[in-house]
């Protein structure tokens, strides 16, 4: 038994007050905290893990979508818009690259050690995760933000009109915490359905569930069909080295693509063919298309990608190794909480959203924002949400005694509707959801009949979770994670059933083409009864074309 858990009663709860509470300590949460603090707000940041190592960015090496101000800026944005399968909004894309660029220059000003490019200028279009997030932690602390590490949030509070704070558990001291706040930023990340991928196992959609309980709407939840190659059994879902891969069968023969050539490039248009091969039989790879100079750059530039090979004791440029596709849910997918205002406000007053917790459809449409776009989005949306939340806090400064009239909103996994069943564990619930939303043959290639079966399975599971999943002590956050994963799975399946076409990462075998009438986001809301509706038709294509 651990020291923390020797005292079953725990210690006295922690109560704090703030203008702005930021939930989540990845890049978007850090930028939100900095923006709010710069705006004069008293800020508390609570993270499930540790600000500096939490989230999908910290263990990675990510590009940014870095577009300098200049004549070709609109063209660059337009070119990317063409690749977003509609739905994305060029106005948001432009504001995002502009805000991200400004903030990357702030990093330069603050002394972040960017590398120099071959032209001798600073190369600001890449951020090495561990260094970036260690740097952001120092900036956040310097700005006077109170940082609560290892403090998972469990639920939001509301006074009936606005969100008024949140509560959770300090999982190392086994005590409860509550922060009364005039505005809350959810920067809690996406939902990778507890897949064991780098930095995303703890991204379980907690923010989605908390927001939906407060009445927020979600959008784009069908866009969860994003997978990335990794060495089999490893956590390294980093696609870049597979740009130079050739794919093989177990017996060492090359897999032949639909044009009769060897199947190569794991991050290009042939991805579907690799997935089809993997559904049938194990697939192996070798990074044999990388020239010696490139091999050296890959090793130096992406050291995290080589940790597994070095530890297994193989040379990925010479040896065959088995690969797998890791599911990435809405972390590299695009769904999340709907943004209702330009300052990243949600449909709930006082509740703001940033990073992967928000839908990124405005930026990346039906395609993945993995890497550069998501990284720039975290910076920009973090900044806007921090500003928006601190402005909201100022407008509500005079509201008195809001704690007394606030009530907690958490239900599933926390306050079950019936008697708790010890036999219903968070682990089993998560495994049951994974069986419906992770397999390639169910979620990469989709089909109405299979989706409907999965939806019914998860509806039954939800009823169990809602009525019987619960517990006490510091481990309550595990039940909330399981509830959030189940809720996210249901929203994803409902949205996927409603989108009766194929678009971007949503691939329906029964509707193989895109339908122009479906060029609009699908909104989902509701906890027990899931409501699905189509948003207004996107007008951007017409604007751009005219």
């Amino acid at each position: 038994m651990s020291l923390q858990q020797k005292d079953p009663k725990g210690s006295d709860p922690l109560h704090l007050e703030a203008d702005v509470l930021v939930i989540g300590g990845g890049p978007s949460g850090a930028w939100a905290a900095l923006a709010a603090a710069e705006n004069g707000a008293k800020v508390v940041l609570a993270d499930k893990g540790y600000l500096g190592t939490s989230g999908a960015t910290a263990p990675s090496n990510t590009g940014t979508w870095c577009v300098a101000p200049g004549d070709d800026r609109a063209q660059i944005v337009d070119r990317r818009w063409q690749r977003t399968a509609g739905i994305a909004d060029p106005r948001w894309m432009l504001r995002c690259v502009d805000r991200a660029y400004e903030n990357l220059l702030k990093l330069v000003e603050w002394g972040y050690p960017f590398p120099s490019g071959d032209d001798g200028k600073l190369y600001i279009a890449n951020l090495r995760g561990p260094d970036y997030m260690a740097f952001m932690r120092r900036r956040v602390l310097l700005a006077g933000v109170t940082v609560l590490d290892q403090h998972p949030a469990l639920e939001l509070f509301s006074n009936g009109e606005t969100v008024t704070g949140a509560a959770g558990v300090d999982r190392q001291r086994n005590r409860d915490w509550r922060v009364d706040a005039r505005a809350v930023v959810l920067a809690s990340g996406g939902c990778a359905f507890h897949e064991r991928i780098l930095g995303a196992t703890g991204l379980t959609g907690d923010g989605y569930l908390m927001a939906a309980e407060a009445g927020a709407i979600l959008s784009g939840m069908e866009f969860t069909g994003k997978y990335t190659l990794a060495p089999h059994g490893s956590s390294l879902n980093k696609g870049l080295p597979f740009r130079w891969a050739t794919f093989y069968r177990e017996d060492g023969t090359e897999i032949i693509n639909s044009d009769g050539e060897p199947l190569r490039n794991g991050i290009g248009e042939r991805e579907k063919e690799i997935v089809r091969a993997m559904i049938k039989a194990p697939v192996y790879a070798r990074l044999d298309q990388a020239e010696p100079a490139l091999q050296e750059w890959l090793r130096q530039g992406q050291p995290n990608c080589f940790v597994p090979y070095d530890r297994i004791g193989i040379d990925p440029f010479k040896d065959l190794f088995r690969v797998t596709f890791r599911a990435e849910g809405t972390v590299r997918g695009t769904g999340g909480i709907r943004i209702a205002t330009s300052d990243c406000g949600t449909d709930v007053p006082g509740l703001y959203v940033a990073g992967d917790a928000a839908s990124r459809e405005a930026l990346t449409g039906a395609t993945s924002g993995g890497g550069g776009p998501n990284s720039s989005w975290a910076i920009a949306s973090g900044w806007w949400s921090g500003q928006g939340a601190s402005q909201f806090a100022k407008r509500h400064e005079l509201r008195a005694a809001f704690r007394s009239v606030s009530r907690p909103l958490g239900e599933a996994g926390l306050r079950p509707a019936g008697a708790t069943k010890a036999s219903l564990t968070a682990k089993d619930v998560i495994a049951a959801v994974q069986a419906e939303v992770l397999p390639l043959e169910k979620n990469y290639f989709r089909d109405g009949t299979r989706l409907e079966t999965s939806r019914q399975t998860l509806d039954t599971l939800w009823s169990d979770v809602r009525h019987h999943l619960g517990g006490t002590g510091a481990d309550r956050y595990r039940n909330r994670e399981a509830a959030a994963i189940t809720a996210a799975g249901r929203w994803s399946l409902n949205a996927a059933l409603a989108r009766q076409e194929s678009r971007g990462m949503h691939r329906r075998a029964d509707f193989k083409t895109s339908d122009p009438a479906c060029t609009r986001p699908i909104l989902v809301s509701g906890i027990d009864d899931v409501r699905v509706e189509a948003a207004e038709q996107a007008q951007h294509g017409k604007e751009l074309a005219s």
């Binding site: 651990s2 910290a58 590398p115 970036y132 780098l198 060495p231 059994g233 750059w297």
Partner: protein, 108 residues
């Protein structure tokens, strides 16, 4: 997953307990212990924050593997990720030498 805390290398600073994003470790009166191995997300970050390279995370994420401290020592794997990054004594370093910009050009 996290597999080894080397008691001979560990200086009992408990930084790993503090920084693990999955709260895998617990403090004790001596070296920390791996209390919740199954929660490990195999991000390797505890290794680079460790000032004495006392931790070893195996590459396999789906479950524990059998590897001994002697083997990790023999293959010089303690601290190997920190050295590849340029981190020293648990502190950031080396990102100014990152060559990723060249890969991005070659990627297109």
């Amino acid at each position: 997953m996290i597999e080894i805390i080397s008691e001979s290398r560990c200086i009992e600073c408990d930084i790993c307990v503090k920084v693990c994003p999955a709260n895998v470790f617990d403090k004790t009166g001596a070296a920390p212990v791996i209390a919740r191995q199954d929660d490990c997300q195999t991000c390797f970050l505890c290794e680079i924050y460790c000032p004495t390279d006392a931790l070893y995370v195996a590459e396999y994420a789906d479950g524990p593997v059998a590897i001994t401290e002697a083997e990790v020592e023999e293959r010089a794997l303690f601290g190997s990720y920190s050295r590849a990054l340029g981190w020293k004594r648990g502190k950031p370093g080396g990102t100014q030498l990152d060559t990723t910009h060249r890969i991005r050009v070659a990627q297109v």
